[in-house]
């Protein structure tokens, strides 16, 4: 049943997300685009663009969006959003309960030190997997990519403005 699948998928995504929204993209992509094929690569890219321009974290935004596009109703959105948030409750309750032990838990710190470089690879993989023929249709796409990269990296410009500028460029060019 699709609702149960949605629930399990987003619960897994919530449970294994370390290091913020961008790291989450790779997990969502693997589950939603590669494994279940609920959304194709270019719709997935559009969804990330939309989630950068709307309030709220990528995790919540993508759960709501995918939940709707898979089931066609708001209940699907609610299930996916609830599922992606549920691990936070379980884990934070647990940590709050064991607060003092957790604060200086060497095992956890050791595990985290191995997870951090993996997260870097996850983000790299998320970006690499989005380099598709649908997202990069011609050389101007690469020009936009280069400009967006340079402006964000050295100009410290808010991502929202980058998306607006790129949208404007798309409107003028295509």
């Amino acid at each position: 049943m699709i609702y149960i699948q949605l629930f399990i998928t987003f619960f897994k995504i919530g449970l294994f997300t370390f290091g913020g929204g961008y790291a989450m993209i790779s997990l969502i992509q693997n589950e939603v685009v590669v494994k279940h094929q609920w959304v194709d690569a270019s719709s997935f890219t559009d969804m990330i663009a939309i989630s950068q321009m709307t309030p709220g974290p990528i995790g919540i935004n993508s759960a709501t969006y995918v939940g709707y596009s898979v089931t066609g109703n708001a209940f699907g959105s609610a299930i996916a959003t609830f599922a992606v948030s549920l691990p936070s409750f379980i884990i934070i309750f647990l940590i709050a309960f064991l607060y003092t032990q957790f604060k200086k838990n060497k095992w956890f710190d050791a595990a985290l030190s191995g997870i951090k470089p993996v997260v870097l690879g996850l983000i790299g993989a998320a970006a690499t997997l989005l380099v598709t023929e649908e997202n990069f249709i011609d050389w101007t796409s690469w020009l936009i990519f280069g400009a967006a990269f340079a402006i964000t990296q050295w100009g410290k410009v808010n991502p929202i403005y980058i998306i607006i500028l790129a949208g404007l460029a798309g409107y003028l060019i295509y």
Binding site: Y22, N30, T45, P57, S77, F93, K106, S113, L122
Partner: protein, 178 residues
């Protein structure tokens, strides 16, 4: 004001007014929770922040659950998480409902042709800062490269690689470094 209502409206405000991901919310969370409501002091806030960052899950939801729990127990945490998730839930739901109907519009099509490569760039940019901040050496810098290859070329689920990374971290600290 009723405390639950207060928690809800505070976190709904945080959820509604921060655009562009979890960390953009941080300054607003701090000014609301520490300066205005005085639910936490500076030090407690830093503790909550550190734990929310290292625990798995959506960062903002972790923060909301933790702060809600501190203020008014389990009920408070549910209300806080609900408050911070609701604005994005409603916004995205509305967009998802109507996006299909204007997705095939020519203007929308060309706008998104411009946006897509920029989104890929936005995802790639943090890689530079993050890799500098991690102080990777010759061996540890192989981990992100291998991760990328496993995912892109072999379609291995990131979940397995994360578990392997955690085990590698524990193995290294308890067996090799000792």
């Amino acid at each position: 004001m009723n405390i639950y209502l207060d928690i809800f409206s505070t976190f709904a405000k945080i959820g509604a007014f921060t655009i562009g991901g979890g960390y953009a919310m941080l300054p607003l969370i701090k000014s609301e929770v520490v300066n205005k409501k005085k639910w936490l002091d500076e030090k407690e806030f830093l503790d909550v922040l550190a734990i929310s960052q290292s625990a798995p899950g959506v960062f903002v939801i972790n923060m909301s659950v933790f702060i809600g729990l501190r203020v008014k127990g389990k009920g408070g945490s549910v209300i806080a998480a609900l408050g911070s998730a609701l604005p994005s839930f409603v916004a995205i739901l509305l967009i998802a409902m109507f996006f299909d109907s204007f997705k095939d519009n020519e203007v929308v099509q060309s706008v998104f042709k411009g946006i897509r490569p920029a989104v890929v760039a936005l995802i790639a940019v943090p890689l530079i800062g993050m890799s500098k901040g991690m102080n990777l050496n010759r061996y540890t810098s192989l981990i992100p490269v291998i991760t990328l290859l496993l995912i892109v070329a072999f379609r291995i689920s990131p979940i397995y690689i994360l578990i392997a990374g955690a085990l590698l971290g524990i193995f290294y600290h308890y067996l090799i470094k000792r």
